[in-house]
């Protein structure tokens, strides 16, 4: 066989191209997962505790001294250097607003055996916070976290294309990006991208209840109203907002991935759809 340049080409020696599937390569992509006849919520996450799943809280920092949060795997604060390089220093300041601690507490409560890390992208300076947000997301993707909880968004259009690339890169690296949807009528990112799991709020009290939205861009609704969370200074507050629905979905992703670590983000989304309370997940 010759290629388009006239050189001879041996298909058996070529690496599998990402954009096609030669006949003799079909066996090479056989998937290890054994799927049940019906994907149920019990199959998906029953008995799971999040063991070993690495969850990143991309937010305002996390107060690990709060008893409802506990030990973190790592904590860094992001800044941008003089040559626009992303700098990740060990974060010893904890949490600058309380929000990241709340998100970490939600994940700890529902996926207690997961490994939580904090990547702080807020607080160092208001100006340039968009660049820090992008830098923090890029850093988190490079660390290979299984789940990145992103309870924040940006309205800056120039950042949209870079965020889009980052979201796609996370998707292909098997990092699930769980992002808060905006509940105000504005264009914001990255929750609008189809490579992320976008989350709005429902008002039901069950923390593991989640709903599939047949009218995207918001894809799922998680528990986001009157949620008890840890806050700064050892306090506990009751909070509401899509930014708290997001760590509920992150927890559910961590539970599923701890039972089925082989799932890609695409497969995980499919499992979420099949086990959503309004699809096939109702008890």
């Amino acid at each position: 066989m010759q290629d388009v340049t006239g050189h001879s080409w041996d298909a058996s020696k070529a690496a599998l191209p990402a954009w096609s599937l030669p006949k003799d390569a079909v066996d090479r992509i056989a998937l290890p997962s054994e799927w049940p006849d019906r994907v149920t919520r019990d199959w998906a996450l029953g008995g799971a505790m999040g063991d070993g799943v690495r969850v990143c809280i991309l937010d305002s920092g996390v107060d690990s001294t709060h008893p409802l949060v506990g030990e973190l795997e790592s904590a860094v604060v992001i800044s941008i250097g003089e040559d626009d390089e992303v700098i990740a220093d060990e974060d010893t300041d904890g949490d600058v607003s309380g929000h990241g601690t709340a998100c970490a507490g939600i994940v700890r409560r529902h996926a207690p055996e997961s490994k939580i890390s904090s990547v702080r992208v807020l607080g160092s300076s208001f100006t340039g916070s968009g660049a820090v947000l992008l830098g923090g997301l890029r850093y988190a993707i490079e660390q290979g976290f299984d789940v990145i909880n992103m309870s924040l968004s940006t309205t800056k259009k120039p950042f949209a294309s870079i965020l889009h690339e980052l979201a796609d890169s996370a998707y292909f690296k098997r990092t699930v990006l769980v992002a808060s949807a905006h509940n105000m009528p504005v264009e914001s990112y990255p929750w609008r991208f189809s490579s992320v799991i976008s989350v709005g709020s429902h008002e039901e009290p069950d923390p593991l209840d989640f709903f599939y939205n047949p009218s995207p861009p918001v894809e799922f609704f998680g528990r986001g109203v009157n949620v008890e969370v840890p806050w700064l200074g050892g306090r506990t507050l009751t909070v509401s907002g899509n930014s708290f629905a997001t760590p509920h979905m992150s927890s559910i992703c961590a539970l599923i991935l701890s039972k089925h670590p082989e799932l890609t983000p695409f497969q995980l989304k499919s499992v979420l759809y099949l086990t959503a309370t309004n699809v096939g997940g109702a008890p």
Binding site: S97, H99, S153, T155, N183, R235, V239, S240, G241, N242
Partner: protein, 214 residues
């Protein structure tokens, strides 16, 4: 800031609302927000980009005598989080929780029992934060309230945008040295003319506009 919006703002300053009228609009918005939610206070915080601080621009209810004009760093706290993330947030304190410590409140200054906050978004920017403090504790928060808060925040963002434009225009009017000051003075002068003088003034300006190819 480009010249074009400044020019328009300079001309507009002579003929439309003043800082006072827009401030009154902001006060009216926070008053209605407080009333609708049955809250004890409501406020609008504006971002001062130069100092990276949030400034109390309109306050109604508790703190209205002391908070107006008060500043704090924009990068921290709950309002700072709302501003930086462009995301609304509702927080209610649990005072009877045994883990609650009064010392914490004293360390961190005034801590309301409850807080609803939404960003003031205009085009791609976040101009500030609308907050509603201490809504009735006996009622559970609902998603309808979140939507209502968002609607108020949108209205407030439009008012804040007008206020900021009026301020830029005022700055131009007050600055006799700037390149655009002549346009601002002209707009004010023509607006003050009456009857035949006004007609002649406008005719003259039309001639000038045609000469300049406008």
């Amino acid at each position: 800031m480009t010249d074009q919006p400044d020019l328009r703002a300079a001309v507009a300053a002579g003929v439309v609302g003043s800082e006072e009228s827009y401030r009154a609009l902001l006060s009216a918005i926070v008053e209605v927000a407080r009333s609708i939610f049955g809250a004890t206070a409501s406020s609008i915080l504006l971002l001062d980009e130069e100092t990276e601080e949030l400034v109390f621009e309109a306050v109604v209810g508790e703190g209205e005598d002391t908070l107006l004009g008060t500043r704090f760093p924009a990068g921290t706290g709950i309002a700072g989080w709302v501003l930086a993330t462009r995301t609304p947030l509702v927080i209610e304190d649990v005072h009877n929780d045994p883990r609650w410590s009064r010392d914490v409140a004293e360390d961190t200054g005034y801590v309301p029992k409850g807080l609803m906050a939404a960003p003031l978004l205009h085009e791609e920017g976040a101009l500030g934060v609308l907050s509603v403090l201490d809504r009735p504790e006996q009622t559970l928060f609902s998603l309808q309230e979140m939507e209502l808060l968002g609607l108020f925040a949108n209205q407030a963002a439009i008012a804040v945008d007008l206020l900021l434009k009026a301020r830029r225009a005022e700055a131009l009017l007050g600055d006799g040295e700037g390149d655009l000051a002549v346009v601002a003075r002209l707009a004010t002068a023509v607006d003050a003319l009456e009857d035949e003088q006004r007609e002649s003034g406008l005719k003259l300006l039309n001639h000038l506009a045609r000469t300049l190819g406008a």
